[in-house]
Point group: C3
Chain length 395, copies 3
């Protein structure tokens, strides 16, 4: 992998970074199994025994609300002969009973009973293997590493910004699943620049400025004025106006951006589709953009929020789950709610698949990133190579 | 593979044993290509030229009744440029004519003629590559090895027990095919314990005791009494009552077990669906259970028999063929006939797929086998590792 | 690969040559990326900006008619981040605009403009990576090598023979796509002998003699007389009568063969379906057979021509495109037009799939080629091994 670690700054990665199955295994080990991964929503874990599952490569993690109100996470692998203990992707249980031989695990993962294992069986020695888990502002993250990276700075940045949107008390009104024929990094790169927005995202571009995103160094007086006005407006509502953007090269960014004039939400007509969520009262809080590497991004408007979760399937395939959240009791038209981001996402998957097909071919060479509008792709690649190499140095 | 050979007794295998493609290749070489494999039924080979085919990994073997009444087996690979010579999985032919260039092979596999090969062509030097084949009690086995293990002790044990069921003169009334997303060993392990029966097999559990199976060390006075009574009853009919159970760690087991009170066959209501097969006259002979490693198990009741044949497809995929046999002239309702074992098998495939998904994930660790009810899984793993390592030592 | 290079003359290749993924990669590098490949038809490139695409393994090449009237070929990989720049397999454009970030390439592949790349961006340094391309007699060939083998001798042989058929001014009336479960060499071997024709190709055999093809050393006075008569007839029309057959072991063969008595075209009833193409006036010019290794063969009758193009997909899979061409203004029944060669091709794919299944199995051994009717398979294998080993020596 020395080729990767010595890539030229300002250029896309060598082909092998996107197509080599061994490199993909390293991605799973050093990136996905070593970092915090977005798993799902607190809103889905609203009572003891309520659980969701999240796949990471060939792994599946159960995230469950315990009797104690805390959230727990476990590998979905019975300590007996390894069966999945869940049969559904989400649900509510009193305990996890393995469907194979009925070993019973508490919500905290401890083995409660195992029938017919003999008198010498040390029940207390067995459990569902634990996985680190954290909640913040209604989002749930897991980490497969024994010694996870710090989560607190992220939570400290996210909570005051996303917290008022009340995602923890929201409901998931729409959920979409996609399978995309591209390496996961191709999807993250696509998300890390809006160079392609004007040409590909008409619905998104109705409400969003073409500039102002991370990695876009263009100046635009009209945008600057809109941002200054909006920040004053947000501050007046008690919302922190400053971004937190990959501090120290870290893995997350949270930024509230203004929408175009006449738009108070990322909808086709700019009008809100539902009442403000959480403790928000003003329908116009711009759009709070979040990204957490390697597998999540989302936008939170006052009336709805959208999250995108990536799951690598193999070196050339990535699964995506899109969720649309609204206030728990809001009545919404689901098509209208999903209109902008369903279209935008599907446009992106098509771009990603065409991009990946070209990357995988003999004619591909690393190409130059735009210093004007692709600096955020560059910083993602830096972060990625550091994750890959840092783990390598640690190994 | 040294990791495998040093596994801890009493524990399931390391992950690689189920998921490593190289290990799978070793399984094909050292287990499947080195042992007797169940191929099909004498009942399908009831006239000269009647043939069946059986797949083993990427190999296909033809088994055919010769003009001489003996059964022959050949690789289904033309000696010319390698084409399959059969187009159908079974049928009746006078000779095997390769569909590509019409080379003609006798039922004994010898090349009879090859058109347009020139005057110097030594027809007698070519043939379909032979495969070892044996018949016993209506079951047909093949072995791809040049020097197959002994077959006679198995035949000597099976013939007096299964022979009276008359499978050789039966007909296959129902045939089901399944593709299961699991390594073949996961299916064998599932078959080697009834720890999961009470929780997963309601139809099977109607007629079958929960105890008494190989590897279950529980005692149960009611079962013991039923067994003693049944054995006296079987002996009176001239049926050997004693089991033959993996003698000397060998690859087969044959055991006649009693059914629950009120059940004379493994049917939903316990009543026979067809007249007794073969030379049996009493409708109640319990259920004769057979297993031959690595690819077959079956149950023979007085009125019907069921056989299960495994075909490994790749490290994570196994094909299964289930056959239901009855007396040749018996009129049966096919749904009723297959009801118990179709349900039981499909329940097992679902358990196996969930088990395999967990085994393939990062959270899997070898787990403890029950000393009470899983000793037969342990003895399968012993046999398997011996096959793998014994061949390795011989290589 | 030394095993391959030392195969026994007169025998088919060892199994690995057809099934080993590493060998397949070598095939792509040393055979497909090193030789001229049939890409498509001049008839599809009848105006500036008209383009077609051709896949070679994971590569895609754009072939386009330039403003200058010349044909150009480029890798379909944007020089920015590698996206495919075409969205359709063929069409007409003024320029290639990458759908991802709208980089604009001229038909000659040069980068015309790249938005938002900053003031220091050296537009002139970027282009679609060029691919060698040649046209002859209405057929278009590309070569991925930096230093392609000589094309001119092929063109010099093809032009006077195929040129009069006017393929450059024809139209593609029917196009069929197939995916065949066999290594590409299995398809070429199938094409290189007519040993299988009598047994498998009833439609083809209506119009075609069983003898006379390359590699068939049989003599047949009736055929010899037909050939002599036909050659006199062709010469009188100004058509060269002599074959050009893999000169010096080279990669192409062009031969005009007579059809059976009463047949003037390879149709079911022998009658032409359309007026003579190009400058031909006589409806009876036999059938001009062309093969160019590794990926094309075709037949040109007076009324219609058929081309077959192979695209390797993976070691065990090959895509095929069949095109049927007629004079541009000819009105034809498409089913009648395709009747003989659609049937013949589909028969061949089935033979190839059965052949490949046998080759991939444990029972396969290299088999003897017929010295009477398979010498052309032998010469293909010689050419292939030379390509493989010659490149190896050069590497």
């Amino acid at each position: 992998m020395s080729d990767l670690l010595t890539r030229s700054p300002g250029w896309s990665l060598p082909q092998a970074a996107y197509t080599d199955p061994d490199l993909y295994d390293a991605d799973l080990d050093r990136v996905f199994a070593a970092h915090w991964l977005f798993a799902g929503h607190t809103a889905e874990l609203d009572a003891p025994g309520r659980y969701l599952t999240v796949d990471v490569g060939r792994d599946r993690v159960i995230v469950v609300r315990g009797e104690d109100g805390a959230v727990h996470a476990h590998h979905d692998v019975c300590a007996h002969r390894g069966s999945r203990v869940t049969a559904e992707p989400r649900g509510r249980v009193k305990a996890f009973v393995c469907p194979y031989h009925q070993w019973v695990y508490g919500l905290d993962g401890t083995l409660r009973s195992a029938r017919l294992m003999g008198d010498c069986f040390a029940t207390a020695s067995y459990r569902l293997a634990p996985v680190a888990v954290r909640e913040t502002a209604g989002l749930v993250f897991v980490c497969l590493a024994d010694d996870p990276p710090a989560f607190e700075p992220f939570a400290a940045a996210l909570e005051p910004r996303l917290g008022p949107h009340g995602l923890a008390d929201a409901r998931i009104a729409v959920r979409h699943h996609y399978r995309v024929a591209a390496n996961w990094k191709t999807l993250v790169e696509n998300n890390r620049e809006c160079y392609h927005c004007a040409g590909s995202h008409p619905e998104f571009s109705l409400s969003n400025f073409d500039v102002g995103v991370h990695g876009d160094v263009r100046t635009n007086p009209r945008y600057d004025r809109a941002l200054a006005d909006a920040r004053a407006h947000w501050s007046a509502q008690g919302l922190p106006a400053e971004d937190v953007s990959f501090p120290g090269g870290d893995w997350y960014r949270i930024a509230r951006l203004p929408l175009r004039e006449g738009y108070v939400s990322e909808t086709l007509d700019g009008q809100p589709l539902a009442p403000p969520m959480g403790t928000l009262s003003d329908p116009d809080v711009g759009s709070l953009r979040m990204v957490s590497l390697p597998n999540m991004w989302g936008h939170a408007n006052a009336d709805y929020a959208m999250t995108t979760r990536l799951t690598p399937v193999d070196v050339a395939t990535t699964d995506v789950e899109l969720c649309f959240l609204v206030a728990r009791d809001a009545v919404v038209d689901e098509d209208d709610l999903a209109a902008v981001w369903r279209a935008t996402s599907e446009q992106d998957w098509e771009l990603c698949e065409r991009n990946y097909a070209g990357i995988a071919s003999r004619g591909y060479r690393p190409g130059p990133l735009s210093p004007v509008v692709e600096a955020s792709v560059e910083s993602f690649l830096d972060w990625y190579l550091d994750a890959l190499g840092g783990a390598a140095r640690a190994a």
